[in-house]
């Protein structure tokens, strides 16, 4: 399936599938774009969400040799971990996987996306978190908790969307962060949280959440969705000797422009910038394409 997060993660009540298909058809029919599906381009090894659909892996270095120019737009297909014990239990899932399987079910590619659950906890307050929380409500969960370590004011999704979810029946808990997931027989049963208070600004410029010792409390849940951010998934890793110079120590691409050094490779979208909204990724893609076109014309 073509369309990235717009098709495979962002809920269809926000972006209807048909709208993206129209665009894809325009590309293939009017512009002669040839699609290679179920193909992962990679130099080095790494597991990303969506890998279950990969039928063949091709080496980025071979592609770069075979084609005059390559534009890399592989997005952010990995989720940050909560970093607490019990995270590997059944019933703990990241927002990307949660949303992704819902979309696959809509397209008839999986039968049952998630078993029916009564109580759901979503950790985080970004756009993935609010989408996951709303989808959990739509799945018929009786109680959906949205838990964030700062306050509504700092929530990346914005106060408006948090308030909208509260009006829809979400239970909003702020100034709390998970300390562990309570596991029973391999299944998540509850999450232990610790209360936070806001301290002086951290390096992101937002007030740092500071744990309050002895303030632990527990919320029961059958499904725990971690929505604490996605990270970029470039088609090469540190193992790729030729291209590792374009990665920082975390494995993210460092590049001054859209072109990778003096190679014939260009980078655009979330894989370059980290998670953004569609518009920013789209703008990036357009300007990268312009640079690639100039490169091909030799100017």
């Amino acid at each position: 399936m073509v369309g990235g997060l717009a098709v495979l993660a962002i809920p269809s009540y926000r972006i209807p599938y048909d709208n993206v298909v129209e665009g894809v058809e325009d590309l293939t029919k009017s512009f002669g774009v040839k699609l290679y599906l179920n193909t992962k381009v990679m130099c080095g090894e790494r597991h990303d969400e969506g890998d279950d659909f990969v039928k063949q892996v091709v080496d980025l270095r071979d592609i770069a040799k075979e084609y005059n120019a390559v534009i890399i737009t592989t997005g952010t297909w990995r989720s940050r971990k909560l970093g607490v014990s019990g995270e590997d239990a059944k019933g703990v899932v990241d927002a990307l996987t949660f949303l992704y399987r819902l979309r696959l079910a809509e397209y008839g590619l999986v039968k049952e996306p998630w078993p029916k659950v009564r109580k759901v906890i979503v950790v985080g307050a970004g756009l993935s978190a609010i989408d996951a929380a709303e989808e959990a409500l739509r799945l018929g969960a009786e109680e959906v908790y949205l838990v964030y370590r700062r306050t509504k004011k700092e929530a990346p999704a914005g106060e408006y969307y948090i308030n909208d979810l509260i009006a829809k029946g979400i239970k909003w808990i702020e100034l709390a962060a998970p300390t562990k997931i309570v596991v029973e027989n391999g299944f998540a049963k509850a999450v232990e949280f610790q209360r936070m208070r806001l301290g002086p600004p951290d390096k992101t410029g937002r007030p740092a959440p500071i744990p309050i010792p002895g303030s632990e409390f527990v919320i029961e849940a059958e499904l725990v969705i971690s929505a604490v951010g996605e990270v970029s998934t470039p088609p090469f890793t540190q193992e790729c000797a030729e291209l590792r110079q374009f990665l920082d120590e975390k494995g993210y691409i460092v590049s001054r422009g859209y072109r990778l050094g003096n190679t014939n490779m260009f980078v655009a979208g979330d894989v370059l910038t980290g998670p953004t909204k569609l518009g920013e990724a789209c703008r990036n893609g357009l300007y990268a394409a312009k640079d690639a076109e100039r490169f091909l014309r030799g100017v």
């Binding site: 709208n19 914005g158 408006y160 518009g279 920013e280």
Partner: protein, 168 residues
Amino acid sequence: MSKAVGNPMLLRWIDYNKCIGCGVCSAVCDFTHNGIPFIKLYDIGGGLIKPISCFHCTKAPCIEVCPTKAMKRDDDGAVYVDESRCIGCLACLYACPYGIPELSTATKTSIKCDLCKQLRGDGLEPACVAMCPTKAIVMGMPQVVFDEAKKRALTRIMKAVMSFGGPV
């Protein structure tokens, strides 16, 4: 002919119910106008982010106040700036109830959305209309737009009252 009062052939309407504030409209506008978008998104508070652009008013105050007759309306009804006539006084901005016109530091003239005059000339839709992933930006003959708006509203009402398994 300044055509302050026009009979627009084309009307553009932003369906804020459908708009998710993704910014694709502004991105493609930026690209097609060399880095200056004429549809822009603003956070009006609390993370509610939506786009705004020229409404191409049927009775356009900007055209009426323009002292050099630089603000014009084309045959499709789009209000645009004739740069060769504009003196950059921004009387248009004072007159505009929506604060749309801006001053270009490059051309020293007022600049604003012209509903992608160039693309329309090639038989294409304005970039924002063509690329909006939610089809929130609707453009067409006025009655077509009015009908679409009502049809969308009716769809919302019917979804709420006619769902299967709902109250009898």
